[in-house]
């Protein structure tokens, strides 16, 4: 029994980590730019497709896609922030939301237009294609890889934000934009940077999804809603919250499917609703 629970925990962790990478970018862009980016899921999709494209391009070498995909996404992020979002920061949230929604629609069809409507898929990189025994049961090596990358990304982000100068700039700007600018921070450029970084993270999430999932236009929607739930549970704009939230949701899913299958569909939303009712600002968010 204990072993079974442990195994499920590992499964939940891997699911959570895959979600975390997407949620991280979403949370970051919201925390700093105060934009709820619905198109973040589409960035994830784009990341997956671009990775797939590069992999095909370079004779099926996954690692090239792994490296290039997120970078390409950062470029996409640059364009989105610099030429679109920058024009609407002063506007009401609902308009920002609408703009991100417009991107969702456009990206979905763009992908269909470029790569066609059929499912795409690439094999797992040979080194990670096998399974590893976890408490006596096979578990995908790639799943563990995701756990590793996710955790690494978690620590890297924590370090970047809490320990580096750039992180300090980001925090400062997030808390007091005016003061940041009068001590010399170029706020517009920082915004672009943060958005690119968020896009890069979404791309990373996409790249990691490629070997385990099938690619199809619109694959971003299901992710964005879950990532969104995660961010809300954790507290809008709180990276730590997003991390915990993602792991929590992964666990809930793993155990829920086994012990409470009826509620799988509602699970995420029930959690979200409960958190919002009890503690609207989320587990790690700050009260307004």
């Amino acid at each position: 029994m204990g072993e079974r629970l442990l195994y499920l925990a590992v499964v939940g962790l891997s699911e959570g980590m895959a979600l975390w990478l997407v949620a991280a970018g979403l949370s970051l862009t919201f925390g700093v730019l105060r934009v709820v980016n619905f198109a973040h899921g589409s960035l994830y999709m784009l990341g997956a497709y671009l990775a797939f494209h590069f992999i095909r391009l370079f004779g099926g070498n996954y690692w090239i896609g792994f490296a290039l995909g997120p970078i390409a996404l950062a470029v996409v992020g640059y364009v989105m922030e610099r030429f679109f979002f920058r024009r609407i920061y002063r506007l009401d949230d609902s308009f920002q939301l609408l703009l991100t929604f417009a991107f969702v629609l456009i990206f979905d069809d763009l992908v269909k237009f470029i790569w066609g409507p059929v499912h795409q898929s690439v094999p797992t990189p040979p080194i990670l294609s096998g399974a590893i025994m976890v408490v006596g049961r096979p578990f995908p090596a790639f799943g563990l890889f995701i756990i590793v990358v996710g955790t690494a990304a978690g620590f890297a982000l924590w370090y970047l934000i809490e320990r580096t100068g750039w992180g300090a700039l980001v925090q400062a700007t997030a808390t007091d934009r005016e003061m940041a600018s009068v001590v010399g921070v170029n706020v517009p450029r920082l915004y672009t940077g943060v958005f690119m970084f968020g896009a890069w993270l979404a791309g990373l999430g996409g790249v990691l999804a490629v070997p385990m999932r099938s690619l199809a236009p619109g694959m971003g929607e299901s992710i964005i809603i879950e990532a969104f739930v995660v961010v809300v549970i954790g507290g809008l704009g709180s990276l730590r919250g997003a991390f915990i939230g993602a792991v929590l949701l992964g666990m809930f899913h793993a155990f829920g499917v086994t012990y409470l299958p009826v509620f799988e569909l509602a699970l995420a939303y029930v959690t979200m609703a409960i958190v919002l009712i009890i503690r609207p600002w989320g587990m790690f968010g700050v009260r307004e």
């Binding site: 925090q171 808390t175 005016e178 003061m179 009068v182 010399g184």
Partner: protein, 499 residues
Amino acid sequence: MMLRVEGLTKTFDKFVAVNDVGFVIPEGRLTAIIGPNGAGKTTLVNLLTGRLTPDKGRIYFYEEDITDLSASKRVQRGIGRSFQLVNIFPRLTVRENVTIPVLSRTGGSRDLIRHLSGFKDVRNHVDHILYEVGLETSAELLAGQLSHGDQHLLEIALALATEPTLLILDEPTAGMNPKERQRLLPQLEKLVKSGSVNLMLIEHDMDVVFALADRIIVLEQGSLLVEGTPVEIQNNPKVQEIYLGGDLEDSRSHRQAQQNPSAGEKLVEVENIDTFYGMSQALHSVSMEVNRGEAVALLGRNGVGKTTTLRSITGLTPPKRGTIRLRGEIISGLPPHEIAALGVGFVPEGSRIFPNLSTMQNLQMPTQVIRKKDRRWTIEKVEKVFPPLQELRERKGRFLSGGERKMLAIGRALMADAEILLLDEPSEGLSPLMVRFLLDALIRIREEGITILLADQNLKFAYQLADRAYILDKGAVAYYGKLEDLRGKEEIVKKYLAV
């Protein structure tokens, strides 16, 4: 008793905003509450009107304990208020604005089906109120399009419309230009005369206070200092103390001041700038100069445009008209971060340090974004000026005391390699000891050749630091000259600064 307040206390994480305040106000009085910035006046109003709930103490209105009533209930009981910052319904017409409170008074606001135009009596009542405050001609305009002064009138109209027995006006004249004041004062007088309503007035403009009030309550640092008739207050030394900073005899800083004569060339030149917040004009063609190496004081009561002047220079609120030069180069119109990089350091009111960053990070931040070779300031050097910071290197900003925050804010500005420091109310809300310490530190900083532009209400503080002064009144420069010349000119001091 109309209003009875007992031991009212409110603290915001450790900072005591209102401290054990108690007083009674009988029927038919116009009471004014005065006190320097950060004295807790607005907090007191928020407690009385139910926007905040006190930690301790009770409030009785006509002997009914209303301490736990919601804001809307208190309004229904007859406590109306206006707000310091205009707080109206910008995208509704003036008439619609006033209609809302009238409806809630008559209960009509619960009607879901009848067309608004059907409520003749309501409409008449609204028109009457608009006439009362002199807005009848702009009834169909959108409130947001009104002039700043008219918005203040509307603000008062909104409060009146709730038919209060006690009307609390929070700085109704703040940021009004002379013309607008001329329109408002009669309105207020009319109200007082009518006797239909008890007024409580929070105000900085002493002309207004003494023209209207028959009782004055003075707050300082959250506690009730004195209470009395205008005459008593005017002759009360304690009050003079907090407003003017008491005795002007302290030669020490003057020697300092003499040691660096203001011979340096022009560093900052402000040429008749007009600055606006949205629709309302805060500065009316303000001009001033600051020479390299000198310390200039920007004096005047609240809401006369001191802060706005500083914000205009930093680029946070760029002027609509006029130019600002730094070392002869035009900087007005540049984004704040570029102006900062050129050597303009800003220390805002309340310090506004980055709460979730450590002292160290706060200090280092400018150095990563403003790249320069030979910096005049290093962390060590800043810590020499502000030794306490040394102990606090790793502490997060949010855990610093008011004084520590102030030091950090100044240090942060210096680390940006500022050539001129813009200080906004540096002495506000600090203990006398802290003020003294700060003063010495700033003098040290001056000796390092840093130019200082200081905006402060505390005349004493200015006297000890600055050489020259500009006095702002109602968004325009009312007087400028050497500070010691002010000693002779008591009437100016009285008119613009004192009580």
